[in-house]
Symmetry: C2
């Protein structure tokens, strides 16, 4: 085998109360990469999109992740990676995670599936570190594992797959840029203990709601008194989008990752589509351009779609 | 019906990472109360133990809780309550909660079961407020509901029953006093954001571990970087008790409620008993007197044992 083609989905991290910890996978949008084995011990990056991302493998998220795979595999082959991104960088739905996971999953397949999910997430974390300046796995875990995940710890890496009921996601991406590093920079060093207690009550309750398939409990737990108040001023019309979504039948939601995308959960595709329409109506009355996506929470993460 | 006899179990609140939020019920020790209907619209408190607790109903935890029931029931009857406590006040295993829950559950039965579990917890919360100066329900919820509970919110009250695998509990109660109000007073107003993130990761993971019956995950999640470091200096030999317990086969544990009791979880009764022995050995080498208890996490909370 010397060619593998892979699809890696967008992901929503944080999930309101679960900052740096919770995340889930979407069906779409997704990135596609084609990885070819080459005999030279090097990494070549080719872009098939117009995002102007670096081709220097040491400055490219996928390149750095692939280097981590090569280092661990102790092999003298190399990779040529062709990347077709559909997830816009800086959108807040795990664009860099999708690049890194696609690259790592393709490389793992080419190398005979020698690495576990946990190892793949660790390699991809090198890419995330390049993208955001800090090591985190809350987009990587659902991108590799699919479904709903909780990252209990980064070091040692401890990823838990959470059971979840059928849920639909609406994402609106206002076409403004928020850099992850900036969005992290405005977070406080200290928080009020009482607020933290409310937050961990909600994380525990959200987990229980997901496991039990209790939609009312999920809705009540989607509350964030710590990060949302600090970050929402970066996102135009955040409160209006949220209010319109709830009025349209969504059960709850908030900032996706570090924004600017906003996500909402619904119990049916019909409600998720009505939510998309309600969100679009809010931005249509402004000069903000946007894209919306409707998808189930996807039980599958990154997928091999071709190998020869 | 004009007499109801009730048993209310000891409970462990906080459960390491879940400060103010998580709790579970034991089989033993338990308090017993006998409640009699009287025609005068008043509350009489009789003690059948030697703890010297107040008999003035406005200063007694059970009395205050009963008054909350009478107020809500808008009835002109009264109650005489006879209390036999086995759970020593100030032990950190929900002594005041057991008094309040026993009283409320007995009164509810006498009044024809007109109140829900949530309403009973709300009445009992008046007793907890008297005992500790703050309203909390992390002992009351498991005392009323049994099993493992999460209190997502006090106002409005939102109690979630968490699925859990068979687990055994060892409690050691060193005979020193820590007042709940004092133990709360030493807690910081602010905490480091990063520590809070670790804490809610552990709460979510503990929840998932309980629901899935994943003992390894439960063990890894029983971690507290916020409250335990501040409170453990109040408890003699805390680190030694913990280390000896883990060496004896317990999977994890920590301070029960606000202490001084220490609890440990084990996957079998055999391990729980070995843990008790290991704990006793630590205190036996000192002048500290103690009591130990071994019990499963009990699926039943407060129980009516007689009514006529």
């Amino acid at each position: 085998m010397d060619l593998v083609k892979v699809r890696a989905p967008a992901t929503v991290a944080n999930v309101v109360c679960g900052f740096d910890v919770l995340g889930f996978a979407l069906d779409a949008p997704f990135d596609e990469v084609t990885l070819r084995r080459i005999d030279e011990p090097e990494i070549r990056v080719i872009h098939r999109d117009n995002f102007g991302l670096p081709t220097d493998p040491q400055k490219n998220v996928a390149g750095v992740a692939l280097q981590a795979v090569l280092d661990a595999a102790a092999t003298d082959i190399g990779f040529e990676i062709e990347i077709s991104k559909n997830i816009k960088p800086g959108s807040g739905i795990g664009s860099s995670a999708a690049s890194a996971c696609a690259a790592v999953a393709a490389a793992n397949r080419l190398l005979g599936n020698r690495f576990s999910k946990n190892e793949m997430i660790r390699f991809a974390m090198e890419g995330e570190r390049l993208a955001s300046g800090s090591k985190h796995a809350d987009n990587l875990a659902p991108c590799i594992c699919g479904g709903f995940t909780l990252v209990r710890s980064i070091d040692p890496l401890d990823v838990i797959e959470i059971d979840f009921p059928p849920l639909f996601v609406t994402v609106i991406h206002p076409q403004i840029e928020i850099r992850t590093a900036e969005a992290r920079g405005i977070l406080p060093r200290d928080i009020i203990f009482k607020d933290a207690v409310r937050q961990w009550a909600n994380v525990g309750a959200l987990d229980a709601g997901l496991s039990k398939g209790d939609e009312g409990l999920i809705a009540r737990s989607l509350e964030d008194h710590i990060v949302e108040p600090v970050r929402k001023p970066l996102i135009p019309m955040f409160d209006e989008i949220k209010a319109a979504s709830l009025a349209a039948g969504a059960i709850g939601g908030g900032i996706s990752g570090s924004g600017p995308s906003i996500f909402m959960l619904s119990v049916s595709e019909e409600h998720a589509k009505a939510t998309a329409k309600a969100m679009e109506d809010v931005y249509s009355a402004t000069k903000i351009t946007y894209r919306t996506y409707v998808s189930p929470i996807a039980s599958k993460g990154v997928q091999i779609i071709d190998s020869r």
